[in-house]
């Protein structure tokens, strides 16, 4: 007996003797009852079955005595018996079991799959030793608790040296570098890390080594690569010691991290880990800070994660962190006064100087997704409940016999629930397999769409959490599908059912329109329709998103992403290079115009800044300005562009002109800007903006003067697909706002072949400078269609479209099953009706009418549900009406047609009934 059972027994013996006696009686009955059920199955008549079982167990009283002697086998034994009997029951009806398991596996699988995703997003700890002892460390402004900043290296080094709160502390900064692969230069996400990065996380390299302490701040070009990058580079362990060329610097590969290691992030992994000291040589500049970033105590460019010392945890870290903060502020008041240290769980998504605040949106999405998959599970459960109801009718006799020999209702219920749970477990196992496969497929599909530079490291192997939740789904499903039918059986009338011979369930009251099994079908149809509509809305939304344009036509225009900064070039050289590139490509026959741009509408990156009328004084006491005249500022998207930018996009200016060559190429031309109509309207309502001046919001009196004259007004361009249609926009010329990485936008003349032009452009760039990293060279349309937003929508469409189809499939099976069962049950009735004059057509109509009536009611209910979902989807899907005409016509039509077929097949069978055969079946 296992320890658990021992405890259980101990507890039970404390109870009164009377209860124990009752339990023995119950056990006895249990054995008799199973025996009787087996007799029945072996072909005995019900009475015989019961009699034999009683005889076999003999005198109840004497057995009772015996039983009290050896109380060994009891609860556990009964459960084992239940399970054994349930197991046999499932084997006895392989057809039923298969359909039931498949149905439920779809439901549980969908939920497990969705939970795996949610788990990876929100719960699954990062690949590290004791991840619970790790925390993100942040620096918070005391005066303004919403204000945070990153850490400077000297501050980090001091904090790391004091080992009281944190046993050890790592620092990192993410950045992109350009890696040469063959004659291609590709951007790869890199994380610049402290030397103890891997040891703090507690993960050793798979091959080679991590970083040595002396490599941390030195400019020794050594690199560690992540598992997925290693795979992409050929997965050869002998790569250790070989070289990599990053931003034109040759690195030695010293280590390869194991599979699943994602650093401190959770879903994506960088390709490279490089020492902090390499940030300057590679010209990766956090926040635009000047060179020699590590020596400067005011250069805040690191993010920290610490491993708590024994006894310290997130909960009690406030006091020790305060001591640390005060010590730091006392030692270096200039840089550290007014700031305090706070610890928070490691940020799962994104990268920020502040703790991850409530994963609100993510949680909402997760909840929504799980709610949808729960609907699928519910449909599967309704299906199964119906199957069990039908089978329950067939098994009434068995349970009548059980109860005749003394089984209590509770016992019958327990037996049936055990059967249900066993079924659910089988389905759960199948469902988990299904989920692993589905999520793997999804990750394979979605991977490339999300990021070119990082690696999606979704691991579809279920962890304990996923398995536990799946088990929960099984239990939940059991309650949903098995309890109702079991309850019905447990309530049956022993006398009537024992006598019952012949047609199963012939005695039960007719199944009215609102009979249990009909309600189940109506529910299924309704839920299926809701899911189908949701899927349809997603599909529609993706279609519209792909067709969307930001305010100009994509045409066959293309762009090149130039990352001269990553090649290690300085500003004059980069400017020279970009001017040359712009000229050479403009000269290609077939190119109408081209222009530099920092970001592009519908691109994956956009930038914003605060702007106000020029001359506004900075905020002194933190009180906001009331009017734009006083200096009230607003957030505007901003972009840095070259000459001919709007011509290249094909957007005519509303007023004024484009930037001149001088403004784009010279660093000391008069400062000018082009604004969008909405920015003009907000800053100078009712006035002409041309000739006016504006500036970036001045936070401090000693901030440099950024005022610029408005020389052009342009229509709104939509920068973000999901964003508002008109967002204030500010354009600056490249001459006055240097950026090392720029896009070169190219407008193709009508009739020119953009494919060959792209090839020529690529060659021209290589001729110009073979080392210039070209991160992308593609059409605007391709870029848009593969953007993160569209990829997310597409993934949603894939998931919810699949949900919809699975729901449709389940509903059709459900309808078919119920109609087929009804026809089988009503064969005699159909025979009589035919004998009394009903034609095949009459019978067909009879069966069809009922099925279609149920479907119609389900559809009606489902439409109401769908409208609710539509309201929700309208809020977060791209450009979709609450009642999308496509989804709201196609989904019901598809469901109605499928239902028609599902009803028609059994109805046809009914119409072929031969009355003479049917009448004899009495």
């Amino acid at each position: 007996m296992n320890p658990f059972n021992k405890i259980w027994h101990g507890l039970r013996s404390l109870r009164q003797a009377k209860t124990v006696k009752q339990e023995i009686d119950e056990e006895l009955r249990f054995h008799i009852e199973n025996r009787a059920a087996e007799n029945l199955a072996a072909g005995m008549s019900p009475e015989e079955a019961a009699r034999e079982a009683r005889r076999r167990f003999g005198n109840l009283q004497s057995v009772r005595e015996e039983c009290r002697e050896s109380r060994g086998a009891s609860f556990g034994e009964a459960t084992a018996q239940d399970v054994r009997f349930a197991h046999r029951q499932l084997l006895k009806n392989p057809g039923f079991t298969t359909v039931a398991v498949l149905t439920l596996a779809l439901g549980i699988g969908a939920n497990t799959a969705m939970f795996s995703l949610v788990n990876a997003l929100l719960f699954k700890p990062i690949h590290a030793q004791q991840p619970g002892h790790l925390a993100g460390v942040y620096q918070q402004e005391k005066a303004d608790s919403g204000n945070f900043r990153f850490f400077s290296y000297p501050n980090y080094a001091d904090l790391r040296a004091s080992k009281e709160t944190f046993e050890d502390l790592l620092a990192f900064w993410p950045g992109n570098v350009a890696m040469r692969e063959g004659d291609l230069t590709r951007p790869v996400a890199a994380t610049f890390v402290s030397a103890n990065y891997f040891s703090v996380l507690g993960v050793a390299p798979l091959h080679g080594r991590g970083f040595l302490p002396e490599e941390e701040t030195s400019t020794m070009p050594v690199a560690v690569i992540s598992y997925p990058l290693w795979q992409r580079l050929g997965a050869d362990p002998a790569m250790i010691g070989k070289t990599l060329v990053l931003n034109n610097t040759t690195f030695t590969l010293v280590g390869i991290m194991p599979r699943g290691f994602t650093g401190t992030g959770s879903l994506t992994s960088p390709g490279l880990f490089l020492p902090l000291g390499m940030m300057d040589p590679l010209a990766v500049r956090p926040g635009g800070v000047v060179a020699n970033t590590l020596a400067d105590r005011s250069a805040e460019n690191l993010s920290l994660v610490g491993r708590f010392s024994p006894g310290v945890s997130l909960a009690n870290s406030t006091a020790p962190l305060q001591v640390l903060s005060e010590r730091l502020a006392a030692a270096y008041p200039k840089e550290n006064r007014g700031y305090q240290l706070v610890a928070a769980p490691i940020a799962r998504l994104g990268f920020s100087n502040s703790p991850e605040r409530g994963l609100g949106d993510t949680l909402f999405t997760a909840a929504l997704t799980l709610a949808m998959s729960a609907m699928l599970l519910l449909i599967a459960c309704l299906n199964l409940a119906n199957m069990l109801l039908a089978r329950g009718s067939a098994r009434r006799k068995e349970f009548a016999v059980r109860m005749a020999v003394g089984a209590s209702r509770r016992r019958v219920l327990r037996q049936l629930l055990t059967e249900g749970f066993l079924l659910a477990l089988l389905s759960g196992a199948a469902g988990v397999l299904l989920a692993v496969w589905a999520t793997h497929a999804l990750a394979v599909f979605a991977g490339p769409g999300f990021s070119q530079k990082e690696f999606l490291t979704f691991n579809s192997t279920p962890d304990v959490r996923v398995l536990a939740v799946s088990l929960g789904f099984c239990a939940l499903a059991t309650i949903f599908f098995a309890l109702g039918p079991a309850w019905r059986l447990a309530r049956l009338n022993v006398n009537a059912d024992l006598k019952m011979q012949g047609a199963e369930d012939a005695r039960s009251k007719p199944a009215g329109l609102f009979a249990m099994r009909h309600l189940l079908v109506i529910g299924q149809v309704a839920l299926s329709l809701a899911l189908l509509v949701a899927g349809g809305m997603f599909v529609r939304s993706v279609g519209r998103a792909v067709q969307a344009n930001p305010g100009f036509a994509f045409g066959s225009n293309f762009y090149a992403e130039l990352q001269a900064g990553a090649a290690g070039y300085d500003e004059p050289r980069v400017r020279e290079l970009y001017r040359g590139a712009t000229e050479q490509i403009a000269a290609l026959p077939g190119v109408e115009s081209d222009s530099l741009a920092w970001s592009m509408p519908f691109g994956d990156a956009d930038y914003a800044a605060g702007v106000q009328r020029a001359g506004s004084s900075p905020l002194v006491d933190g009180k906001p300005f009331a009017t734009v005249a006083e200096g009230k500022d607003m957030v505007a998207n901003n972009n840095v562009i070259g000459t001919d930018y709007f011509r290249t996009l094909g957007v005519p200016l509303l007023r004024g002109r484009e930037f001149t060559r001088t403004e784009v190429e010279s660093t000391n031309a008069p400062r000018v800007a082009i604004v969008s109509q909405s920015l003009a309207d907000e800053l100078w309502p009712g006035e002409d903006a041309l000739g006016r001046r504006l500036q970036f919001t001045r936070a401090r009196a000693d901030a440099p003067d950024t005022s610029m004259e408005v020389i052009g007004v342009v229509p709104e361009l939509k920068q973000d697909l999901m964003g508002k249609a008109s967002h204030p926009f500010l354009y600056q010329p490249y001459g006055q706002a240097y950026q090392p990485s720029m896009l070169l936008q190219v407008r193709v003349s009508p009739g020119a072949d953009s494919k060959s032009l792209m090839r020529q452009a690529g060659e021209a760039l290589r001729r110009l400078d073979p080392l210039l990293p070209v991160a992308a060279l593609k059409t605007l349309r391709a870029s848009h269609e593969n953007s993160v937003t569209v990829a997310l929508l597409r993934m949603g469409a894939r998931i919810f479209g699949t949900f919809g189809l699975v729901a449709l499939f389940l509903a059709v099976i459900g309808i078919y099953g119920v109609r087929a069962y009804s026809v089988a049950r009503r064969t005699r009735e159909i025979g009589i009706r035919m004998a009394l004059g009903a034609s095949s057509r009459d019978v067909l109509r009879l069966i069809l009418r009922e099925g279609l009536l149920l479907t119609a009611m389900g559809l009606g209910l489902g439409l109401m549900l769908a409208v609710a979902i539509g309201k929700l989807a309208n809020g977060f899907l791209y450009d979709i009406a609450v009642i999308d005409p496509f989804a709201f016509t196609m989904a019901p039509a598809l469901l109605a047609l499928s239902a028609l077929l599902a009803c028609w097949l059994p109805a046809r069978r009914a119409s072929k009934v031969d009355p003479i055969v049917a009448l004899r079946s009495e």
Partner: protein
């Protein structure tokens, strides 16, 4: 009694007085069982004229019900020849047989075959519902029959709430409600009190006088006297 309904005679059915309504020639019926073929009806030769009232008698298992269901055109697995109003039944498809049956035949089943899910009134309505009659007319017909059989009080009860005799009354009522030309009744009075049985027989007699051809199966010699002719069956053979 007024005719309750008129079935439009089908033009393709020749109905002359000289030809018998039913002609059976060497009709044989056998069941295939494990033991081989069991003959239930042997060399049945029988002519029945329109307007006749015939009684079939014989011991249990003689094949009476079998013969009746062949005459009702439910059973089509037999050998020999069966002309129904000159239609060669053997060569008719299921649809045509069903159509003939619908137009001419009313049947009282030995086991009643009432629908458990329907009330008495609804059971009576079934044959009418498949015969293109307006709702109001159907309601009137049902009310009329309920009245004639003295079961108005039972009209909303389910068959399981009726006694065996009451169920039989409903079965008979249902067979005649559509005013069939040919009434086939398998022991229509088996469960009835003598008085009730006599009433049913009086009703049959009246229907017969009005032109309905009747073939009844009965064990009762008294009932047999209502008919004009008795066909005796034994082990599937017709006694001469």
């Amino acid at each position: 009694m007024k005719p309750m309904m008129s079935t439009p005679p089908r033009t393709d059915i020749a109905q002359t007085n000289t030809e018998p309504m039913i002609q059976l020639r060497d009709l044989e019926k056998c069941y295939k069982t494990k033991a081989g073929f069991t003959y239930v009806l042997r060399q049945i030769n029988l002519d029945i004229n329109a307007g006749e009232f015939i009684t079939i008698m014989g011991p249990s298992g003689a094949g009476k019900s079998t013969l009746l269901s062949i005459l009702g055109m439910y059973d089509h697995t037999w050998e020999g020849e069966f002309l129904f109003l000159d239609h060669p039944v053997r060569r008719l498809g299921a649809k045509e047989r069903a159509l003939l049956n619908k137009h001419y035949v009313g049947f009282v089943f030995q086991q009643f075959h009432l629908l458990d899910d329907l009330t008495v009134a609804e059971n009576l309505d079934i044959p009418l519902s498949y015969r293109d009659i307006r709702k109001s007319e159907r309601e009137a017909l049902v009310a009329d029959v309920l009245d004639r059989f003295n079961i108005v009080g039972k009209k909303d009860l389910y068959p399981s709430q009726l006694s065996g005799g009451q169920q039989q009354l409903v079965a008979v009522a249902r067979a005649i409600i559509a005013k069939p030309k040919l009434l086939l009744a398998d022991e229509p009075t088996g469960n009835l009190h003598t008085d009730q049985g006599r009433e049913i027989m009086e009703l049959f007699k009246k229907l017969n006088q009005e032109g309905t051809t009747i073939i009844q199966v009965t064990h009762s010699e008294t009932n047999a006297t209502y008919g004009q002719r008795i066909v005796r069956l034994k082990d599937g053979w017709m006694e001469k």
